[in-house]
Subunit: 458 residues, 2 copies
């Protein structure tokens, strides 16, 4: 079944190219997991493979999709219709009756729909949308077909099964699943010109129906080039084992090691990823998780107020739990492509209020045993340090339009470390002293960032 | 004396055009003020007229200047040499021996130096550099000569003496000092093409040596257009009376009514302008003034700690003084063209620390008479409100890349009002209660801005 492109196409205007997604195969190696449903519908952390492919494209502005189906087209078409509504994009199903011939035959069946450059994706590849941005950016200066390649084969799961390429500079000189030597691994993400269809036709006339055979024709005319993806995430899902590895690799790809503090990176993230893996299957929203983390923080603050060693230890553990959950909102948002400006902002503001409550709770607990006004001056000192450590960085971003200085001190004045230090203090029955210490550290960090800014100005 | 353009010109690369500044006249009407020194050297709030003209151009990227001199060239040349060093720009003195003929003759003497579009300015005009940006922006789409005009003649001091224009759309159809009717007033700021020199030559051949006569030639070929300046500041300084009015108009132009809160606008600014007028003549830097305001704030905070009604009232007045001085750093920076990213940032951070100290002082004073822990919980509540009211706006700017919502609530959570409210509270011997009230108001404002951001996202 091939449908004509409806008038709805005109309704979608986007500067991004359309995307052709190959989703025709059976994926029999995943049959055990899928219980007979087609491979594109395999769920991965809350979304199907196909949904992830479409949403990843939508992240870079793509709104027009041609999804080539074959195996179980009867199940796929209603699913695509539902997806089109839900994701507010145009999805044109393209049925390839000869899908068993090879993926080149599937790509070729999109030819009548596409007469300008287009993204070409395999629906069973998970990837960081930033790779598409690299392709689109590289595509501005060339009319060759472009393939995103990974130059770190040691990172690739099941390298034997992967398609590899040989390169001459950035020109692809060979592509295929054969043995070494090779220079990089094919990630299955392309920015193609309509010339690809002519190349596929030539290969087809030779009786070859794989995408690689078509690409080999482009290689002959040196119209096929590689774009390296650096360390960006991608994963080819083929077997139950690779599916399970893909999930953990995807979770791992969500955290930004450069932005995370030490405690976040080595303690909070490994735990929050486990929690996110569970939460992503529930209907709770990222903002809901922010509120959840905030509420747990407030509970911890109240527990500090009760005084006594047992409550103090418990309070310390509870605020550390709150800090761990604080990582989940962003993870869930990125997992579900639900990141919003408001979400990040809301989370930050709630964090500052939770900090305030924790500082108040710790101080009140301490004051019960040490009823001096000086206790509260220490509180004010620490609280200002905590909020201003974040404030000074926001100001830096606004004034200098660049990231605030990182480095050791930059990481020492982050929330993950503050909360962790107070928890350690609580365990040692010295939460107030720990709070003063990280408060002091915060003020040092603030002065350090100011000095950095002053130097940058010169 | 005409000098050849030195090799130094090549060292300056800027996309902005060069500027020709007419500074040849005697300005005899200002002789009483200047005691014989040439008019371009007339000091206006810490800088000479010529220095202001050059620095205003430098604000929009101009680095290459041709200053036409005539009267007292012997005094002007060493001054220009010194200015060139001090301002790090290229200044080429262009002496016009026939300067008495008219300003057209002076403009024409720059002809050998300029073969591309250039800004043309009268050195005795004060103006907002934003007007130059308007001209440069309008100049991108035309090869006509452009004149910045003011369509609000009621704002113009000494309208009789001003040059007026008649317009047909934005095409200038008449220019001169004659009587009405006219559509707008000539601000003396031009973006010219080298064709101006040909027009001046034509006028010269007719025995006319004024700039207006040359422009009349451009009008004939409809190559002369007007760019309206909206409400932006400009001022023509000719007489001792206009000089004095120019100073107060310049001071007035420094504050941004949209950014200022109510108290700042109607109470602090009128006073801070008077202080700035004095401070600008001292060597104190804008950052030094920030530190001064901060120090006064800390003194007020300490006075609150002493308790007792007298100290409380004094403390209230001192923090209000600190809030007034807080306006001077920006005013002095703008007056001296010394605004820096760091300066604004440093000021903001110091303000938050001063707020902290004031909150601590007010609370300590109150606690002396009411020694309950609840006092300090109120302190934490107010302090978080004060800092977060600013924090939430910074976040808004970063997330939405636009100004945070203003309006009534936006203005109610600004520092000027907080300090003023605490001062009023101090006079009523209720500074703590006043602090709690504005703290509450701050939290309301924070929630309001969050809701605004949430709505904007949708």
């Amino acid at each position: 079944m091939r449908m004509t492109v409806g008038t709805a196409v005109q309704a979608f205007t986007s500067t991004a190219p359309p995307a052709v997604i190959l989703a025709a195969g059976e994926g029999h190696r995943l049959n055990g997991v899928n219980r007979g449903s087609p491979k594109p519908l395999t769920p991965v952390l809350g979304l199907t493979l196909l949904e992830r492919a479409i949403l990843s494209c939508k992240e870079v502005g793509v709104l027009e999709f041609y999804v080539v189906i074959g195996y179980h087209a009867d199940k796929m078409i209603p699913y695509l219709r539902a997806l089109e509504q839900r994701l507010s994009v145009l999805i044109q199903p393209v049925e390839n009756l000869n899908w068993r011939e090879g993926n080149g035959s599937s790509a070729l069946s999109a030819a009548p729909y596409v007469s300008r450059p287009f993204l070409l994706l395999m629906c069973d590849h998970l990837f960081d949308p930033a790779i598409l941005r690299l392709l689109l950016s590289a595509g501005k200066n060339t009319t060759d077909c472009l393939l995103a390649v990974d130059c770190h084969p040691d990172h690739v799961f099941d390298l034997d099964d992967a398609t590899k390429v040989q390169l001459d500079g950035d020109v692809v000189t060979r592509i295929g699943k054969g043995p070494p030597p090779f220079d990089a691994v094919d990630t299955g993400l392309f920015l193609c010109q309509p010339t690809l269809f002519q190349a596929l036709e030539v290969a087809k006339d030779k009786g070859q129906h794989s995408l690689s055979a078509g690409l080999a024709e482009l290689i002959r005319s040196r119209e096929f080039r590689a774009v390296t993806i650096g360390g960006r995430f991608w994963f080819d899902v083929d077997t139950p084992k690779s599916l399970s590895r893909a999930k953990s690799a995807l979770l791992q790809s969500l955290s930004k090691p450069d932005d995370d503090g030490f405690i976040s990176r080595y303690l909070n993230r490994p735990v929050s990823r486990q929690i996110s893996e569970i939460l992503v299957r529930t209907p709770i929203s990222p903002n809901g998780i922010s509120l959840m983390s905030f509420t747990v923080g407030i509970i911890g603050a109240v527990m500090f107020c009760l005084g006594g060693y047992i409550w103090t230890i418990l309070a310390g553990l509870v605020i550390q739990l709150s800090s761990i959950i604080d990582g989940c909102d962003g993870e869930i948002a990125r997992l579900r492509f639900q990141s919003t400006k408001f979400g990040g902002w809301f989370d930050t503001i709630l964090d500052r209020y939770a900090d305030t409550a924790i500082v108040a709770g710790v101080s009140f607990g301490y004051w019960l045993a040490h009823p001096h006004a000086a206790v509260w001056l220490g509180t004010i000192f620490a609280l200002t340090g905590f909020i201003m450590a974040s404030y000074v960085k926001k100001e830096y971003v606004i004034r200098y339009q660049s990231k605030p200085p990182g480095g050791l001190i930059g990481r020492l004045i982050k929330r993950d470390l503050r909360i962790f230090a107070i928890m350690l203090g609580a365990i040692a029955n010295r939460p107030y002293e720990a709070m003063l210490l990280v408060g002091f550290l915060s003020h040092v960090g603030i002065v350090w960032i100011l000095l950095k800014g002053h130097r940058q100005m010169r």
